[in-house]
């Protein structure tokens, strides 16, 4: 059991990097970026190819990030310059990336059993993924927090929050969107590179549904660890990603068919996204119940002659 939890936390930390990328595009830029399913594989593909060619794991991981950023830039240009709707821009890049990723890898999957990965060269023994993932997540939370507090970060947030105002203040919102998408997908590719190295293979199919996993993490984090400061919100994303993995590990341990996972994730996200509405509905019900209850009580008391 402990092993399962440790494994889930480790995996959750690696996925939290994807979730942070999704957080940047989805929450800061208000952009549901479908590129993610492709760029996470791009990260894995680049790192796998470079490692099999004998590259240093740090260099390989860094180049994987650049690959992801390039994918984000493409989506950004499709959306801002060619005026293609946001979701469609992401989907188009994602589909295109499928071919690009196969070209990069040369085949459908690459195993990394015989090469040294990041997790082989950092110390930590059995828990090297836990430690490496933890360091990466923590460093990124701190880095993103400082970035979002800069003038540039502030301009990025303003673009996502109120584009008209950002424009009126002289912020080039097109550039900001491209920048945000590059940043987001750079993180996603970083995450893909880490995941591939921890599981010691890269596979064409590994990206499927990762945007939804990212969203699930962001939303679960917001529900479990609600904070108002930026650093709190970023931490919540990591908390969400790890919690998501623990939940998945537990339900599988309880006997759920792994093939049902995607459905389970989709339903989780639907419930989490509809929470505000469900809450509102429930509150209205409770209110009207109380009103009727009070009225009924008053009536009964009047009958009994005990009205105050």
């Amino acid at each position: 059991m402990l092993n399962i939890i440790t494994g889930a936390i480790s995996l959750g930390l690696l996925w939290s990097v994807t979730a942070l990328g999704v957080y940047i595009t989805f929450r800061m830029l208000d952009y549901a970026d479908m590129t993610v399913d492709g760029s996470i594989v791009t990260g894995a593909a680049i790192v796998a190819v470079l490692l099999t060619k004998g590259a240093n794991p740090f260099t390989a991981t860094f180049i994987a990030c650049i690959g992801g950023m390039a994918a984000g830039v493409v989506t950004g240009i499709l959306h801002t310059k060619l005026k293609i709707p946001a979701i469609l821009s992401g989907i188009l890049t994602q589909i295109g990336l499928y071919s690009v990723n196969i070209k990069i890898m040369g085949k459908a999957n690459i195993n990394l059993l015989k090469v040294d990965t990041l997790f082989d060269i950092i110390p930590g023994g059995k828990n090297t993924v836990l430690i490496g993932g933890g360091i990466a997540a923590m460093a990124l939370v701190l880095l993103l927090n400082s970035f979002l507090a800069t003038s540039l970060g502030s301009a990025l947030r303003a673009t996502g929050n109120n584009e008209k105002m950002a424009n009126a203040m002289g912020i080039n919102t097109d550039t900001m969107k491209i920048l945000g998408l590059a940043l987001g997908n750079g993180l996603v590719a970083f995450s893909g590179a880490l995941i591939a190295q921890s599981q010691q293979y890269a596979d064409m199919g590994m990206g499927q549904g990762s945007i939804v996993i990212g969203l699930a993490s962001v939303i679960i984090g917001e529900v479990l660890y609600h904070r108002t400061s930026i650093i709190g919100k970023l931490t919540a994303v990591v908390v969400g990603a790890v919690s998501y993995r623990i939940i998945i590990a537990l339900v599988i341990d309880m006997g759920m068919d792994p093939l049902d996972l995607k459905l389970f994730t989709a339903i989780t996200v639907v419930i989490a996204l509809s929470m505000p509405r469900i809450k509102g509905y429930a509150m209205a019900k409770i209110k009207s119940f109380r009103k009727h209850h009070i009225k009924a009580t008053i009536k009964i008391r009047e009958k009994e002659g005990t009205a105050i």
Partner: protein, 267 residues
């Protein structure tokens, strides 16, 4: 002296060649002197907002030229004109970023039109300056620098937008019915604030209003638009002596002249 603003023969048609084609600005001409505070009135569809948006670069114009100071801005995109312009919109929600704090919004405004780098967004010195400026609004906002803007009322947000538009002195301030969405008391307060800021800093200003009394009582110059053109333009003494009655008369008169057009509905 170079005029603060020149709008020369500007034309704008929306959705050309379609069933919803709308010829709004029909060769409009307007010259503003440095320090002019112009109120603009006109019926719905007269082209008031389109004129302001043309100056701000929200969309490209079809014909004509626009100069701010001695710089031609006709072909500049909106974000590049921002360095010259302060803007306040009719909808109080448009001028501020709701999920960001008062301080963050003001710091964005402080650097309007500048390149945004990796320096800290808000310095302590700026915070003190923001406090001082907020205190001048007299709305009790000076101690709420770290509150998210979304928590504020429409009137408070509009006052902050006004502050944001002027905290770095603009060459030209564009106010697009900025009090229309507020309750009368708040509207009065925001208008008073507008007068204070504009007069104190001698900012060249265009203010659209649908309230003729406000148009008469504020500013040093009044123009009336109808059917995509300026039909009436008064200044100084003549403007001070205007009454709502004479304005209404002018209104009716210019309507009669363009009575054939059925697009005109009195606002």
């Amino acid at each position: 002296m170079t005029p603060a603003l020149i709008v020369r023969d500007v034309e704008k048609t929306f959705n050309p060649g379609t069933i919803t084609e709308n010829y709004v600005l029909k060769g409009i001409n307007l010259v503003l002197e440095e320090g002019d505070y112009v109120t603009v009135i006109g019926g719905n569809g007269a082209g008031k907002s389109t004129l302001l948006n043309s100056i701000a670069g929200v969309f490209p114009v079809d014909e004509g030229h626009i100069f701010i100071g001695d710089k031609e801005v006709t072909h500049l995109p909106e974000h590049k004109r921002a360095v010259h312009l302060g803007r306040v919109f009719q909808d109080p929600m448009v001028g501020t970023a709701a999920d960001m704090t008062i301080a963050e919004n003001l710091s964005i405004a402080m650097h309007r039109g500048e390149k945004r780098g990796l320096g800290k967004a808000i310095s302590e010195k700026e915070k003190a300056f923001f406090k001082e400026k907020l205190a001048q609004l007299d709305l009790g906002l000076e101690n709420r620098l770290n509150d998210v803007i979304g928590l504020l009322s429409g009137g408070q947000r509009q006052a902050i937008t006004l502050l944001m538009a002027t905290i770095k002195k603009p060459d030209l301030l564009l106010l697009d019915e900025h009090t229309a969405a507020l309750d009368p008391k708040t509207a009065e307060k925001v208008l008073q604030l507008t007068d204070n800021i504009v007069n104190e800093n001698k900012i060249t200003t265009i203010m659209i209003t649908h309230n003729m009394r406000d148009a008469i009582n504020h500013g040093n110059r009044l123009i009336m638009m109808n059917d995509g053109r300026v039909v009436f333009d008064v200044k100084g003494e003549e403007k001070r002596n205007l009454t709502v009655e004479t304005l209404l008369e002018k209104f009716t008169q210019s309507f009669a002249e363009s009575a054939l057009s059925d697009r005109l509905i009195l606002g």
